[in-house]
Symmetry: D2
Subunit: 257 residues, 4 copies
Amino acid sequence: MKDVQGERDSRNISIDRVGISDISWPIQVLDRENGTQETVADVSLSVLLLKDHRGTHMSRFIEVLAKQEKRVTLRNMEETLTALKERLNANEAHAEFNFPYFITKKAPVSGAKGRLRYDVSFRASLKENDFDLVTELIAPIQTLCPCSKEISEFGAHNQRAHAKIEVRMKEWMWIEELAEIADSCGSAPIYSILKREDEKAVTELAYANPRFVEDVVRELAIVFDKDIRVTWFRVSVTSHESIHNHDAFASVERSKV
Amino acid sequence: MKDVQGERDSRNISIDRVGISDISWPIQVLDRENGTQETVADVSLSVLLLKDHRGTHMSRFIEVLAKQEKRVTLRNMEETLTALKERLNANEAHAEFNFPYFITKKAPVSGAKGRLRYDVSFRASLKENDFDLVTELIAPIQTLCPCSKEISEFGAHNQRAHAKIEVRMKEWMWIEELAEIADSCGSAPIYSILKREDEKAVTELAYANPRFVEDVVRELAIVFDKDIRVTWFRVSVTSHESIHNHDAFASVERSKV
Amino acid sequence: MKDVQGERDSRNISIDRVGISDISWPIQVLDRENGTQETVADVSLSVLLLKDHRGTHMSRFIEVLAKQEKRVTLRNMEETLTALKERLNANEAHAEFNFPYFITKKAPVSGAKGRLRYDVSFRASLKENDFDLVTELIAPIQTLCPCSKEISEFGAHNQRAHAKIEVRMKEWMWIEELAEIADSCGSAPIYSILKREDEKAVTELAYANPRFVEDVVRELAIVFDKDIRVTWFRVSVTSHESIHNHDAFASVERSKV
Amino acid sequence: MKDVQGERDSRNISIDRVGISDISWPIQVLDRENGTQETVADVSLSVLLLKDHRGTHMSRFIEVLAKQEKRVTLRNMEETLTALKERLNANEAHAEFNFPYFITKKAPVSGAKGRLRYDVSFRASLKENDFDLVTELIAPIQTLCPCSKEISEFGAHNQRAHAKIEVRMKEWMWIEELAEIADSCGSAPIYSILKREDEKAVTELAYANPRFVEDVVRELAIVFDKDIRVTWFRVSVTSHESIHNHDAFASVERSKV
């Protein structure tokens, strides 16, 4: 059967990225408490296509994915890309895994335990032998408005917000550590289960700790600026304002190298 | 050219609904303040297909839609369906229009004006001569938790919530009236623009007016139960809890006929 | 601490459904080939609230959910609802679980194996002792247009489509069986991995087997009409037309009792 | 009333971007055929916040937006950013408008006219006096697989695809021109209305013109490489493969300066 993808191309244009996207796949990731965690990822895999080749072989991406599904971790992302490069005969390979990740948190007073969903991405590239990995965590947190608290006789508007942390690491950090940092920088953490005594504690904590998105993003920047395991970071906060139908956001990006 | 859709079908199965969906189209709707408002709708149009016919003629749905785009209103929904029935030779026709609708609201103290987005649906059916129309409004509102206020020494968690109002009317109601009802049933309304004096007013109003989703949905039910223009309603409230990463919701449906 | 939710309500309105929604939770479901499968669900849980009670206790829903996570199956859905009714002191309870489900399929010629994602929902209610369960599967399939094939000198437009199957069963059916029925009713099945010989086979199969959405939905209706394990069904097909930017759809609902 | 946002900040961290996002707003854009077109945009506006200032004044973003809503065009994007910089006392400002845009297209044989939805973004920045604008168009097109055509005895799988074109211009290009380029690079254009003679023409055109995503992206790159009005471009194609439940994609980015 003719290999149409394998034809020679004369248009003289290399393609930065060609591959598959929006594929859903069950994966296993590393979990600090339990060793591993099963989840479902939205995956994208691609390679550089040199100018002489008409097409890539799309089914091979799935073959590589199928082999890696039990080991989609920060630790073997480079191995996945090496496998892609080899199977596709490519000089560069890229992979992106986006998945929900669950951390069991204890309510602050009762200690009631419940799972909380975080959204995690691994975005990795391997160009020749140059490996790059960005790890992203989106964490739900609470923000309480300092202005509203200051000017109002009682109460203060507060809301669910999302902190997005993107980092390049030179030393290992657990997803759980990133989540703890997010929790420490908002007005209060968020939980899936809160008994009445916990709800009181969380309400009072947030009121005692008012933070604009500008405050949260600066607190996050301070932490990652100091953390020597991180060489680059971008932190952003999106607050789903309870008094508006739109969001307030702030972001800071810094490279330390 | 052969009319494959027009072939006789022997499978003996009539099809409840066949047509087009997920089509985006600019439309003009009625606006209480400004006469009309231009917006963009997600549209679905369908008909009943009798058991003898293999298929319907999909391009005719677009033709009917194109003719109605400047008049997608509560008042001419029946006319749209009559046109569909005739053009498609059908005994029943259905239409659904979902679109953003903007209402200019004044901030409570400064009077600063800003547009606020609502989401509206018209869902209409015409079976023989029996016309049915459900109008839906999704309105952003604020809820402040009565329990959190009661048990905490200061503050109370609050958040953006959405009230969904679905009604069958026997007399005209403006979209703006439905939005005003939503505003009156939450802890406080939501605005796109609030100056500092407004933020103070809204914060204090919400704190003075704590409401569970259960409270909001009951207040909505009381209003529509009394309003003689409405023959059926379903009201629901979804509160994007600021202390959780999930929502609280409540719904009530009542027919008055 | 005061139990605000437990207050007596005088508004005289019972609430059809009150609970939690849009909560993400890892669950384990039954898998015909492998015994069980780990996945992540979007969950909604609710109860009927009688008119005398101001509110429900939201944290208890999470407690019930946490206990059931390893056993979210068709077989124990009634048990989950019984637990909800008891824990919430309610006369009625409702649960909805929506989750991706993966089935490993073999390519038709090469036999290459790959996982394919389906979307499944369980929607269950328990009113007094009356248990109701609707199982829904959304399956990707291919449709090839009979009209386009008939009138064109070569080729025929085809596209990804989704078959949605909703059933009430009186006897057990595997999710895998519903998926096989969907595959048998389209122009051709869909796979995650196809080698060149498979791509040839699938292309030719679809061309030999042209189907309008009207055809697919009737084929589905015939199957479920005959299957004595099913007491009610609603089948619909949405085809993401490759020549348009909108979808064609058709749906049939039948009760056999 | 105290100006909390105006407080001095001692954390020594400037914030790259702070502002509002996910705000929906009706806007008017330029239309080659009709002068202007009303649509609804999802908007994000932000500024750089210097290290000495605790917060920005969020309500001012809405004030600037409200003044520009009738003139959101490529031509006045710089003016909008200048207004933002002045109103917010900022050295840098950023704006992003994402909106549906409708182009009326004529079916290739019958000449039947129908609107087709495109998705457009303007992403603009003004740093000191350095203005930058990226215009993005996402256009639905059709792709027909060259491999499937070559190896199959009859038929060839085809599907809806999306071409994304991002450009920096030094001379004006209409959105309509970008859409025409997208149409010229796929296997066939997409229409909202096609009569039977049109469906035949489009089916045969696609079959005569098979293109991988690799082919489409190269054709796009050739056009923009030659067009002297463009100084930078990134083109990508995502094809919703009809034989799979995932997408194939390819992208090329080139700077000409």
